[in-house]
């Protein structure tokens, strides 16, 4: 055994035990990749067939009202829509496997190029909104739990309730009116002032990062002025959700026996809340935050519409209404990947936060 182990180690340069670990990890990850691929394929199939069953004619979306029959037929052939449904799907999956997402009917460009452009816009907005949601929502939730049924709790509850019930487009319009129209504190709709467009080379697509890389600080601050308001409006909804969940998680923990023990031992209240209770809340909280982030990354159609924000939500909606299946499927894959990615990320965070999860 010793001999064999030495031989293996000499041969591969790693101890056998570690190699086995790597093997298991590889097997796990290949299993995981297979699962992801299967999930995405299922997602695609459902989206594809639903998209083809709805009575929207993609050919008409392309050729328009007044097109004569032969143009209509020619475009239909060109799009492959005269083929049987399963064949269309097979062709699509084949192309996709080769990395070809196809061409969007609406923008007349490769879908992948469109997504490269709209996704960073959504990423920017969703990330800011989530930062706001976490920075305000978690402390608010804790405050609500600590001072249960006292005024801070009531305040958190009212803020949360308003956040849930006010329509987001209305909040967006009013936000624009007050902070842009009247006060002039923030920049108007869009991602960037019109005269700042194309001033920094596209590296990541996220304008703030690109501007920082190019050290164009004027562009950076202009972009920042544009993202503040829409992300605050979106963030408000995250705040409401995250605060409510934090509050209920915290309440559950604060009633546990170990808290009473800690109190009996004379541990300071601050330490009990921030170290003992919060630590135990962190795992479910990460799930909540991750889900809320993932939801925002799908794009927020109404916010994007009010703020003329060229993000994924509006892209997907426009594509759906024109039965632009390549674009819809492309965006669906992105959304699917986001969920997989966010799940992975929260898995990693669990392991960091809870040693038992390792």
């Amino acid at each position: 055994m010793q001999q064999a182990r030495l031989g293996f180690q000499q041969f591969f340069g790693v101890p056998l035990r570690d190699k086995v670990k790597v093997n298991i990890a590889l097997r796990q990850s290949s299993g995981f990749l297979f699962q992801v691929a299967l999930t995405l394929l299922g997602l695609l199939a459902v989206t594809f067939f639903i998209g083809r069953v709805v009575p929207i004619d993609p050919v008409l979306a392309v050729v328009g009202d007044q097109a004569p029959r032969d143009v209509y037929e020619a475009v239909k052939r060109e799009l492959g829509l005269d083929q049987p449904l399963w064949w269309q799907f097979w062709v699509y999956v084949q192309k996709l496997a080769a990395g070809d997402f196809g061409q969007s009917l609406v923008t007349n460009r490769p879908v992948i190029e469109d997504i490269k452009r709209v996704f960073p816009a959504t990423l920017e907005l969703a990330t800011f909104a989530t930062i706001i949601g976490v920075a305000l929502g978690v402390p608010m939730g804790i405050a609500g739990a600590v001072w249960q049924d006292r005024w801070p709790d009531q305040l958190v509850r009212v803020v949360g309730l308003v956040g849930y019930s006010v329509p987001i487009f209305w909040l967006g319009i009013i936000g624009l009116l007050v902070f842009y129209g009247i006060l002039g504190w923030v920049q108007g709709p869009g991602r960037l002032g019109v005269f700042f467009e194309d001033m920094v080379p596209v590296v990541t697509g996220v304008i703030l990062i690109d501007a920082a890389i190019a050290q164009e600080w004027e562009v950076f601050w202009n972009a920042f002025g544009h993202v503040v308001l829409p992300s605050a409006v979106l963030g408000y909804f995250s705040v409401a959700y995250i605060a409510r969940m934090t509050r209920s998680f915290m309440l559950e923990q604060l009633n546990q026996e170990y808290i009473i023990t800690a109190r009996a031992k004379g541990v300071s209240e601050a330490r009990i809340i921030w170290v003992h209770a919060l630590r135990n809340v962190s795992v479910p909280l990460v799930t909540v935050i991750a889900l809320s982030y993932a939801r925002l990354l799908e794009g927020a159609v109404l916010t994007e519409t009010v703020f003329a924000w060229p993000g994924l939500g509006r892209y997907l909606t426009t594509a759906l209404l024109a039965a632009d299946m390549n674009a819809v499927l492309g965006a669906t894959i992105v959304v699917g990947l986001i969920f997989v990615g966010i799940n992975l990320l929260s898995d990693l965070l669990y392991r960091l936060l809870d040693p038992r999860a390792k």
Binding site: P55, A61, G64, T107, N108, I173, G181, V194, G225
Partner: protein
Amino acid sequence: MRDQMLQLGLHPCCAGLWQGLPMALTWGFIGCDEVAKHGAGDVVMNPHFSKRALFTAGAAGLAAAALPGARQAAAQQTPRNALVIAAQIDDLVALDPHHSFEVTGSDLLKNVYDQLFIIDDSKPSAELLPGLAESFTTSNDGKTFTFRIRQGVRFHSGNPLTAGDVAFSLRRPLQINRTPAFMYRSVGLTADNVEQTVRQTGDFEVQITFNEAYAPTLIQNLFTATIASVLDSKLVLQNAGEDRGNTWLNRNSAGSGAFRLTRYQPNESYTLDRNDTWWRGRANTQRVIVRHVPEAATQRLLLERGDVDVARNLTPTDIAALRGRPGITIQEFPRGTIQYFSANLGDPILSNLRVVEALKHLVDYDAIATNLLPGQVFPHQSFIPRSILGEVNERPWRFDPTRARALLAEAGHPNGIRLTMDTANTFPSLDVAQALQASFARGGVTLEVLPATGAQVLAKFRARNHQLFIGIWGLGYPDPHYNADSFAHNPPGANNPGKLTWRNNWNIPELTARTEAAMRERDQNARAAIYRQIQAEFMGTSPFAVFAQQQVQVAVRSNLTGYAASSPGLSAILWRATKG
């Protein structure tokens, strides 16, 4: 300039906020309520409703709140040499002028490409001016047109424009065969004959031989359309793939017009830069930036703040609120687009002409123009839009529920009828359909409105599976034939879903012959007379109820002049726009 845009300081008019906000809150909620009511009715809830909700809530809120505040807040201004426009441009599919068929497309392309003829944009009547064709002659049999091409014109690339480019550009629409190609085919040009019928006969001379002796005005008007744009053939051929440059031209431009396209991001924005050597003279503005702003209330805020010079897509509420506001001017110009609904004569109930007649008596024509779409339309009942050759301004149909009931009884429906109407779920068709639902009810017609996305209802319409369909018809080029071709032309056995007559099963061999005769009438007055006769019959017995013609309302900053075109069939003419 940039510093000016970077306003992050506190504005001294907080008072406006406190006066306006509570009202805005109330109004905004009222707006949402209204929408909830709509959603609960027959009408299917769909994403467009949220958009409508935005209009209602936003517009009402703004009307209440912006008034006190924004008047002072409008401190910003765009640079004098640049024109910034907020518009909805997400329906822009193609940039290839031989492929494009959207209004937003012609807004862009008419400023980037030159055509053989020009509609005088300074006069309300659609008068013709020579464009890239300086002059033309016709042969004795009237079939062959010889065009003298203007010399000394250069494309944006620097290539000189020659008859070769013109011949190339006249043939290409048929060769790539996209939607607008039907305009050329309606005068007998086809992909098969175009190499022979269109000939370059000199360095600056092109000859076209048509299959018939068409009226010269028809040909001239046709050659003002976007499809008649002359492309830089050398540049296109350099970049052409298998599709004769179609893909390349949908992302780039190869024109000789007042502006060149320097930047285009679909669904986001485009930028046009001035062509300093344009043959008609240099445009007043150096750069034009058009930005996609989907929400009307947002467009309005941008205009009020002075971040844009023009807001293209405002609602009647926005326009009413902005009228008379210092610093903002409302400009109106007619658009050659008409609104109509049509009855499928293949339907057993509707095949009775009395029923169709009754329906025409159940449209409250005046209420649509004055209450429902104030300023956005004016009453019009025939298919040739106002200020186009052969226009008819008589309006024989009046709202008369009593007469309608009598007609229905005559048709054998004394207890009324039930009908369905297909409509796109967008403004204004859906709004009019809902108004018709109310006015039809007064004559005993129960109307079920079936809203769906534009592509969806069109598919049903083209398959002739509708009872009633409400639609909008745009004028492709400012000639009466364009509309007559679809509203009064249906050759037997043609089986053409592009024609409205065919879609409604309206068989009219005699009117078809007259429409064809009008195409060949060389005398302009006689030609107009034929169209007037056709329309008289159309208004009397057709399955179409034309009820309005659209007009464009834009709000601009008052220091901007010369933006709006005064002639229908044209959209924004950017080269005259000047900022004071």
